[in-house]
């Protein structure tokens, strides 16, 4: 395949602790509040909020997506793309046991306290969704990523 350098876009994934990922990529797919959305070079400038879920990055000339679990945040699309998130993890770094425990804990709490304050409720639900998202991403990510 001929290289088409003009069709690459630089992507940075930033967490409060570190620069999680940086590179020139063909396509990046993230989960916005309204659903999965892909961004390529030349996309209209945008700022969108991201939901808890997976982030997929297609690097140049690769057949597989790089996958990562992210815990919400926002994407800032300009001439380059900056994704800001509270936490990001590659599938191999996800601690499945911890996620499983967090999931069970959140589920139990939600079952035991059905009439708690809304704020607390939302916090626990978010924790549950983060744990579930981690688990699914770890599972699918460990199989070698998704082919295109």
């Amino acid at each position: 395949m001929a290289k088409m350098a003009q069709n690459l876009v630089s992507v940075e994934v930033i967490t409060p602790e570190k620069l999680f990922y940086k590179g020139d990529v063909e396509l990046v797919i993230c989960r916005t509040l309204t659903g999965d959305e892909g961004f390529m070079a030349g996309h209209q400038w945008a700022t969108k909020l991201l939901d808890i879920g997976e982030l997929r990055i297609k690097e140049e000339d690769k057949d597989e997506y790089l996958m990562a679990a992210i815990a919400g945040g926002f994407v800032d699309v300009k001439d380059s793309i900056v994704i800001y998130t509270d936490a990001a993890e590659w599938p191999e770094d996800i601690d499945a046991n911890r996620a499983q425990i967090a999931k069970e804990r959140a589920e139990k709490w939600l079952a035991d306290n059905p009439e708690e304050e809304e704020v607390e409720m939302r916090k626990r639900e978010a924790a549950l969704r983060r744990a579930v998202s981690r688990l699914t991403i770890r599972e699918s990510g460990m199989k070698g990523g998704k082919t295109i």
Partner: protein, 287 residues
């Protein structure tokens, strides 16, 4: 010179030596901690500006941002000061600098409430009868982003409810290994950044779900990030200040040891000379 005096000086030398060992060890520990804190501070600092830039851009590009977060959106009655101090002492003027700045800021502001991080600031202001909203005593170097989220959530809630109208962050900024300065930053209401560089953007930007939602998400995030950055920076400063203080203490102890051993040697020599004179004059008297 009496031998009792010699004994006392010797004891003094021994105690100063052990003190020197302690301060020297603390210096080494602080230096190691400083190195670690500095790496994490530099890493996060590099990316911190992205979020502040994004907010400035959105503000400048979007017409209908929620006014409550902006400067001039409402009258300021109650101010919340977030004071980042340390939980441990022996770090020179680190804590007193922070407290001094906080006091100057709070002067004449009777309605102010405090949120303190680190025990030193809390103890000082609690003793003086200031209203402390909440205090966090985990050592700053162990704080995570989640902790800073926990801190800023109640503040934003209070701001939304109108219980506080202004949020000021007071922390120590890291200038270099030997220089740190106490600084203040106004977090809320958000000061409009009318930088012409940022202003010029004629491209249409798409916001999703809406400008207001994005803005409402970014403002708390901005606070969390700023707070997290300030805590990390302050922890770095604390270690740097402690390293300096301990280095000074070690130097002083060494200087003192030099003086003391000089005195000790002189006194010992004087005692020997004295004894010699006694022996010589004794034998002279006999002959």
């Amino acid at each position: 010179m009496a031998s009792g005096d010699l004994q006392a000086v010797k004891r003094r030398i021994r105690s100063v030596t052990s003190m020197e060992h302690i301060t020297n060890a603390m210096k080494l520990v602080s230096a190691a901690k400083l190195r670690r804190a500095k790496t994490s501070f530099e890493k996060s600092n590099q990316y911190l500006h992205f979020i502040t830039d994004s907010i400035a851009e959105i503000f400048n590009n979007a017409g209908e941002v929620p006014e409550k977060y902006l400067e001039g959106g409402r009258e300021i009655h109650n101010t919340c000061y977030i004071v980042v101090s340390s939980s441990r002492g022996l770090c020179g003027s680190f804590n007193s600098n922070i407290i001094k700045l906080a006091e100057t800021e709070m002067q004449g502001d009777e309605n102010s409430v405090l949120l303190t991080i680190g025990t030193r600031g809390r103890d000082y202001f609690a003793k003086r009868g200031c209203t402390i909203l909440k205090d966090f005593t985990t050592p700053p170097e162990n704080m995570t982003f989640l902790d800073s989220q926990e801190m800023s959530t109640p503040i934003i809630e209070m701001f939304d409810k109108g219980e506080i109208d202004k949020v000021v962050l007071i922390y120590t900024s890291y200038l270099s290994q030997i220089e740190q300065a106490a600084v203040k930053v106004q977090l809320l209401p958000f000061e409009a950044n009318l930088d012409p560089e940022v202003m010029k953007q004629n491209k249409e930007v798409e916001y999703e779900p809406s400008v207001g939602d994005v803005f409402n998400y970014l403002v708390p995030k901005y606070m969390e990030t700023m707070l997290y950055g300030a805590i990390i920076e302050s922890a770095t400063c604390e270690h740097a200040a402690r390293r300096m203080a301990m280095e000074n203490a070690t130097d002083n102890a060494r200087e003192m040891l030099g003086d003391l051993s000089l005195y000790y040697n002189r006194a010992r020599q004087a005692a020997i000379t004295n004894e010699l004179i006694e022996v010589v004059s004794g034998s002279e008297a006999l002959s």
